[in-house]
Amino acid sequence: MRRIITATVQNRSGVLNRITGLLQKRQFNIESISVGRTETESISKMTLVVEVEDNQKLEQLTKQLNKQIDVLKVTDITDKAIVARELALIKVVSAGQLRNELQGIIEPFRASIIDVSKDSLSIQVTGKPEKIEALIELLRPYGIKELARTGMTAFLRGHQPQSAELPSYSLLNR
C-alpha cells in the first residue's frame, strides 16, 4: 500500500543521510522524498511517499523514523484531508507547428510553457501526482525528451487541528 508520511526534523547536518540510510537499511521502498525548510527556523519537513506491504511494516517505518534523535514528529497523513502537490518539468519534442496543439492539451491542467526552442518545448505543471501522471501520458505520444519531478510535498488542510495537536503515531496514544 502507498502511504504519505511527513516528518518534521531538526535541521542538523547528517539528518537526511540518517533517514535515507535507515530506509535503505530496513529495506523500505521509497517512491519519492522531498525536503525543505519550514516556517520555523532550524526545522525542516520531509514528505515521504512509500510503498509498504502491510500495517506492521508501516508501523516499523514510523517507529524507526521517530526513534532518530533529530526527528521531531512523524505523521502518516494518507487518510487525512490533505493538500498534496508535486511539480514536474516536461521537455517535449516539438516543431513549432505543434505548439498550438500542445497548448490545447495542457490548458485544462493549468500547466504552462516555460521554455521554447527550435525543436523542443518545456512545460511546467503542478498538482497531485495523479494529475501529473495523466498529463505525462497525454504528452508521451509527442516524444518526451526529458522529465524531472520534485516528488510530493503535502500538508493537512486548514480546517483540521493545528499540526502540533495531531496524533502522531505513538503506542501511548492507543
Binding site: G14, G21, L72, L171
Partner: protein, 573 residues
C-alpha cells in the same frame, strides 16, 4: 563557564582550546577511564589529556578494536558509558566493529574520533575517512563538531543520549582544527533535545490488560532479556515471578537477570537453549517479554514461535515492539517502572502448579547433557569446574563460538551484570578485551575470559595491557584446535567438509603469555585442571590457561536454522 577573550584587552586570560573544553567536559561527566590510541588528528586531544593526566586513567590498548571492546566490557558491568578515543581514518575505521557491536547489544559508549581539519574535509586528505557516513547506520546518534563552542554541549548530549533510554553508542567526530584552536566564543553546555524523550513510564491501561491476561493465564512464562539489567530490575523481576509463580526463561544477553539456580529458572532459551525453556515458550498461553528483542537466534522459525500465546512485550524502545512478533499487549517502558507498577495492577497472587510441574518434569527428563570420559577435558565439564571453584560469582566474558554457548549453558549466574558476551553481532575478538574493561570497572572482582583458540588470536595483542596494568584477568582458552562452531555446522549441515575451519598451526600460548611476562599453563587432563585451579584463582595477577579440550565436541541441544523451538535436536545423548 564563560571565557573572556576580548582581543587587545590586557591582562588576557589564557584561552582554552577545543581539546581543553573536551577534557573539561569529560571531567564534568565523571569519566575516570579512557580507552584509546593516539594519532595525528587527535594529538591536540592527547596533549590536553597529558595536562589533565591526574584526572583520568588512559588505557592504551594495542589496537583500536581492543579499546572499544574494552569500553564495552566496562560499560556492561559498570552501567556507565565506556569512553573511547581514536584518531581519524584508520583509527576510526578500526572502531567500526565495536560500534556496530555496541549498537546491536545496546551498550552505552561515547566514541571520540579525530578528523582532518575542517578546511580539508572532503578533499581525500591524509587519513581522512567519512566517519559520519560510515557510522550513521551503526550509532544511536553521531556528531561532527563544526564550531568549537558547540563542543561542551555536544559532549553532554552525547553522554545523555548514550546512557538514557535504550543505551547505545554515540560518535563525536572532532576535526583537528577544532581541538587545536582556542575557543574565542562564549559557550555553555545547555542542551534541548525535543526529538528525544526516552523516559517513558508505562501506560496503566496496557498494564491493566497485562494483569488481566495474567489472572486468567494457565501457562504463563516470562522471557527476560538484557533490558531487565539495563533497568536494574532484577530484584523486581524475581519478586514478580515469585508472587505469580511465573517460570523465567532468559535470552543469551539476559543471563543473570534472574538467579540461575532459582526453582522458577528455566535457563537460556533459543538456538542452544535448554529444552525446557524452549518448550515453555512454545507451549505457553501468555508470554511476557521483558526487555528482549525477539532476535531470530531466540525465536527460531517465527511460524512456530509461541503459537498459542498472548504476547506482552515490555520494552523501552517502541520500535522493538511488534517488529518480529505480533504483540497483543505493548508496554513501552523502562523495565523497572513497568514491574513496579505491575505489583499494583496485579494484586492477586497466582499459582500454576500443573504448568510448573509439567515444566519440572521436562527439566528432569531433558537436562543439559554431555558425555564425560573422566580423563580428557570436555569443554562443558571445564566450564562447570570453573563455575564450582568461583561459586558462580565471577564476572565472565566470552568470545564467540562453541565455548560461548557452553559458558552460557553451564556457568549459571546468581547475580546480574556479571555476564559479558557479544550477542547480536557475534563478534570474534570481543571476549578478551571486554574482560580487560570489566576488570578495570571492577578491580576487586574475579574476571574470567572464556575464549576460543580462534577468536583469542583476533585480539590477543591486548596481553600487553594485562602485563602493563597487572590486571588479574584469567584467560581460559577453550582450545579445540578449530573454529569449533564453524566446524560443527560443517559437520552437521555440510557433510563433514571442514573447509578452512581446522586450526592445524597455533602459537604456543604458554610461551606467548610468557613473552608478555604473564603466567601461562597448558592443561591436557581433568586432573591437571582440578589441581591447578585453586592456584590460578588465588593468584592476584593475570593468567593464561591453554586448555586442550576434546575436539569433536558439539553444542547441544540445538535448533537447526529454519526450525521451530519445538524441533530441537541433540536433546538426549
Amino acid at each position: 563557564m564563560k571565557v573572556q577573550t576580548k582581543p587587545g584587552t590586557a591582562p588576557r586570560i589564557e584561552t582554552k582550546t577545543g581539546a581543553d573544553l573536551l577534557v573539561e567536559s569529560l571531567i564534568k561527566q565523571k569519566v575516570d577511564i579512557l580507552f584509546g590510541y593516539p594519532g595525528g588528528a587527535v594529538l591536540p586531544i592527547y596533549d590536553a589529556i597529558y595536562r589533565a593526566r591526574e584526572s583520568f586513567t588512559h588505557i592504551l590498548t594495542r589496537h583500536e578494536q581492543g579499546a572499544i571492546h574494552a569500553a564495552e566490557g566496562y560499560a556492561r558491568v559498570s552501567g556507565k558509558p565506556g569512553v573511547v578515543i581514536a584518531t581519524s581514518g584508520p583509527g576510526a575505521t578500526n572502531l567500526v566493529t565495536g560500534i556496530a557491536d555496541a549498537m546491536i547489544d545496546s551498550l552505552p559508549l561515547v566514541v571520540f574520533t579525530g578528523q582532518v581539519a575542517r578546511g580539508v574535509i572532503g578533499t581525500d586528505a591524509f587519513q581522512e575517512a567519512d566517519v559520519m557516513g560510515i557510522t550513521t547506520p551503526i550509532t544511536k546518534h553521531n556528531y561532527q563538531v563544526q564550531h568549537v563552542s558547540d563542543l561542551p554541549r555536544i559532549v553532554r548530549e552525547a553522554f545523555h543520549i548514550a546512557s538514557t533510554g535504550r543505551p547505545g553508542p554515540v560518535v563525536v567526530d572532532i576535526p583537528k582544527d577544532i581541538s587545536a584552536n582556542p575557543c574565542e566564543d562564549e559557550y555553555d553546555d545547555n542542551f534541548h533535545l525535543p526529538g528525544y524523550q526516552p523516559n517513558i513510564k508505562p501506560n496503566p491501561l496496557q498494564l491493566k490488560k497485562l494483569a488481566n491476561a495474567l489472572e486468567t493465564a494457565k501457562r504463563p512464562v516470562i522471557l527476560a532479556g538484557a533490558g531487565v539489567m539495563f533497568g536494574s530490575a532484577s530484584e523486581e523481576l524475581r519478586k514478580f515471578a515469585e508472587k505469580h509463580s511465573l517460570p523465567v526463561a532468559t535470552t543469551l544477553l539476559g543471563l543473570g537477570s534472574f538467579p540461575g539456580a532459582h526453582p522458577l529458572a528455566l535457563g537460556m532459551a533459543g538456538m542452544h537453549g535448554t529444552f525446557t525453556a524452549n518448550r515453555a515458550l512454545y507451549e505457553c498461553d501468555l508470554l511476557i517479554n521483558i526487555g528482549a528483542r525477539f532476535d531470530d537466534r531466540l525465536t527460531g522459525n517465527l511460524e512456530h514461535f509461541a503459537p498459542k500465546a498472548t504476547v506482552a512485550h515490555i520494552d523501552i524502545d517502541p520500535a522493538e515492539i511488534g517488529k518480529n512478533v505480533t504483540t497483543h499487549i505493548p508496554v513501552v517502558s523502562d523495565s523497572k517502572a513497568a514491574l513496579q507498577s505491575l505489583f499494583y495492577h496485579a494484586e492477586f497472587t497466582s499459582d500454576h502448579d500443573d504448568w510448573l510441574q509439567h515444566l519440572s518434569d521436562y527439566q528432569k527428563e531433558n537436562p543439559l547433557w554431555y558425555k564425560n570420559p573422566a580423563k580428557e577435558m570436555v569443554p562443558q565439564w571445564l566450564i562447570e569446574a570453573v563455575h564450582n571453584i568461583t561459586n558462580g560469582n565471577a564476572i565472565v566474558t566470552t568470545d564467540v563460538g562453541q565455548h560461548q554457548m557452553w559458558a552460557a549453558q553451564y556457568y549459571a549466574f546468581e547475580e546480574p551484570d556479571r555476564w559479558v558476551t557479544s550477542g547480536g553481532l557475534g563478534t570474534m575478538g570481543f571476549g578478551f578485551p571486554a574482560a580487560i574493561g570489566a576488570q578495570l570497572a571492577k578491580p576487586e572482582e574475579t574476571v574470567i575470559a572464556f575464549v576460543g583458540d580462534g577468536g583469542f588470536q583476533m585480539t590477543l595483542q591486548e596481553l600487553s595491557v594485562l602485563q602493563e596494568r597487572q590486571l588479574p584477568v584469567k584467560v581460559i582458552i577453550v582450545n579445540n584446535g578449530a573454529l569449533g562452531m564453524v566446524r560443527q555446522w560443517q559437520e552437521t549441515f555440510y557433510e563433514e567438509r571442514y573447509s578452512e575451519s581446522l586450526l592445524q598451526i597455533q602459537p604456543d600460548f604458554v610461551k606467548l603469555a610468557d613473552s608478555y611476562g604473564i603466567q601461562g599453563y597448558r592443561i591436557d587432563t581433568q586432573e591437571e585442571f582440578i589441581d591447578l585451579l585453586p592456584e590460578v584463582f588465588s593468584y592476584n595477577g593475570p593468567v593464561v590457561l591453554d586448555c586442550r579440550v576434546l575436539r569433536q565436541e558439539n553444542v547441544y541441544p540445538m535448533i537447526a536454522p529454519g526450525k521451530g523451538l519445538h524441533q530441537m535436536i541433540g536433546v538426549k545423548p
